[in-house]
């Protein structure tokens, strides 16, 4: 008996148990190990400088769309009939060596009957100081209706001198201010991307989820459909579908129709990503456990599987938004997309149809810069998000 009790007796440390006794974690390591997945992603994303700046830029741009009326000096549809095809005015700071602050010289236009063109000349004696935060109704095209007629106003961030003009990006064929048109055009162009991606996101997750979770016959059918849609060049398909939008539709209906077309053709990529992730994840222990405990497929997909690859989806979605913005621009440029009076960047670029347009009025192509900037920012942001979406790597 004593033998056995002897065998069982063992040495016990009297001290309190301390898991950190062997390797002590620094506070930094502790913070890292205790952080949630989303926190880790944010830390990783923050390190990607360009992506962070692009993100801030895009958020600013989207918020500025809410107050386009205030930020732009003119109503985008007001026609300044004395200033057709006027080139951009130059902003000066000094007049004859004397500092005045930002101003433009008054400009007079004349129609040259020989070349059949408008010719504009600066009047060096007419100094028109640019006003800031002006709240006056003393020039044409100043008033606006805010947020769909909720209230009217005439306060602008900057505006021309009383009785003067300020066309920093020139005017178009009908004498409308290009800068203001660009500002308002962003509203439509950028909304198309967001609404389109929302449609594509919902469709991609639903269809990809069904394919990936059930597998078998459903999966292979959906796979074939995706392959067929993807094997069709996007632009001709967009062109054909938007040409099919009835001419009798109002511009707003056309806008929604176009957005739905763009979104409907974008989902295959997302659906594929969802499917392949689901296929690998549904074999994991936690998914099997949830299934054995009687969770419904919907709950397993939405509650257990989705969160683990949501970040990937967001990253790939942010990479398809620019494709939609470019798609809208291309279609409107071809005259198949949005139509005036709706103003989008594509509609603005529609004015530049051939070589003569650009050679005579090169400033009409300026909306392109905003397209390129926004698309560039979305690409950088998407790259940063993609890197951050897998923070354990």
């Amino acid at each position: 008996m004593s033998d056995i009790s002897n065998k069982n007796s063992h040495w016990v440390n009297e001290n309190e148990w301390n898991p950190d006794s062997v390797t002590k974690l620094t506070t930094e390591q502790e913070r890292y190990y205790q952080a949630s997945q989303w926190q880790l992603m944010w830390w990783k994303f923050r390190k990607h400088r360009v992506a962070l700046i692009s993100g801030i830029f895009l958020v600013t741009v989207y918020f500025s769309l809410l107050i386009s009326e205030f930020l732009n000096p003119y109503n985008p549809n007001h026609r300044h009939t004395d200033y057709l095809y006027m080139p951009p005015q130059e902003v000066h700071f000094t007049h004859e060596g004397e500092f005045i602050g930002p101003f433009v010289y008054g400009t007079k236009g004349e129609f040259d009957l020989k070349t059949w063109q408008w010719v504009y000349e600066e009047d060096m004696s007419d100094i028109q100081k640019i006003r800031f935060f002006c709240s006056s109704n003393d020039y044409a095209g100043a008033e606006y209706e805010f947020w769909g007629g909720l209230f009217t106003g005439d306060t602008h961030l900057f505006c021309p001198a009383p009785g003067g003009q300020l066309f920093l990006m020139g005017t178009d064929r009908l004498g409308r201010d290009m800068l203001s048109r660009m500002g308002y055009g962003g509203r439509i162009s950028l909304t198309v991307g967001i609404v389109g991606i929302a449609i594509s996101f919902v469709m991609g997750i639903t269809i990809g989820g069904i394919a990936g979770y059930y597998g078998g016959f459903i999966d292979s059918t959906i796979q074939r459909v995706i392959e067929i849609i993807r094997s069709f060049p996007q632009l001709p398909l967009w062109m054909a579908l938007s040409a099919a939008l009835p001419v009798t539709w109002s511009p707003i209906l056309v806008f929604f129709g176009l957005t739905i077309i763009l979104g409907m053709l974008d989902w295959p990529g997302l659906a594929r990503a969802v499917r392949s992730k689901l296929l690998s994840l549904r074999e994991e222990d936690f998914a099997v456990a949830a299934n054995l405990m009687g969770a419904s497929p919907k709950r397993i997909i939405m509650r257990h599987l989705m969160p683990s690859f949501m970040s990937h989806l967001i990253a790939s979605a942010s990479l398809s938004i620019p494709a939609m913005i470019l798609g809208e621009t291309a279609l409107s440029y071809l005259g198949l997309g949005l139509r005036p009076p709706i103003t989008s960047w594509g509609v603005l670029l529609n004015e530049v149809q051939n070589i003569n347009d650009i050679v005579l009025h090169p400033w009409l192509i300026v909306p392109m810069i905003s397209v390129v900037l926004v698309v560039l920012a979305f690409n950088f942001l998407g790259d940063g998000l993609r890197d951050a979406s897998d923070p354990y790597k």
């Binding site: 067929i228 060049p233 062109m239």
Partner: protein
Amino acid sequence: MFGYIARRLLIMIPTMLVISALVFIIIQLPPGDYLTTLINELQAQGESGEERIAYYRELYGLDQPMIIQYFNWLWGMLHGDFGHSFEYDLPVSEVVGDRMSLTFVLNFFTILFIYIVAFPIGVYSAVRQYSVGDYSLTLIGYLGLATPNFLLALILLYIAKAYFGVDVGGLMDEQYIDAPWSMDKALSVLEHLWVPVIVIGTSGTASMIRRLRANLLDELHKQYVITARAKGLSPKKALVKYPLRMALNPFISDIGNLIPDVISGSAIVAVVLGLETTGPMLLNALLAQDIYLAGSFLMFVALLTVVGMLVSDLALALLDPRIRLGAEASK
């Protein structure tokens, strides 16, 4: 290998059938058709033109149900009869003329251009990661991706016109349009080809460079490369012998993504540059509801894509024995 090719060819048939059905639905989508427009036009001019309309109705069976119209159309296409262009009042095959072959040539050279340019630059960017050259090439790549190619075409037109006084539009000198093919015409096409090729190819090249760079970097960081280097293999051999070959697979298979992009790009660039390819005519046909003409063009671009995918799959099978052997085994 033959089994693989045969299987791959067989898959194409149902794909093309579904695509043809889709195309037919799409071209029939717009409310009304060209005939209704024609009737209105003739009535406005005070003619009745009933004979002509009745003739068309008869010819295309426009009174028959959709499904029969579809099979008529499909059957005709299989026999080389693409239908009748209402707008030009000619058979589609005559209206189209050279356009399809020119589109093919344009897209072929663009893809060739993309591969020739992307390959060395991609390898360079990966090998010299984070060098000045890599950074500047990456930046140019991002810009290339962000600029819509029709705008690039406009800018190029502008620069050529404003600074060099030349018109770079078109795909051949004017005297060769509608002329029969000759050596001079072919040369003229080649002379004009480079502008659209560069314009269409830019974004494809940019994305290809990024992909090759990423693939090659993945390979270069693997342990077998480090082992090879540690054992004294020359840097060149430790790059070309294995990592590059591994990185080539996705590079080749990506042609499946590339072809639809290039064809999309060429359609819109052709409109801007006024090329004698399918793009501008497709646009007009869509706007004028010239359904058989539009349908033929849509079928053509789809066929071009599907065949391109086939070629890329075959190239991949040649390159990677796992694919063709896998196919043999599963038979």
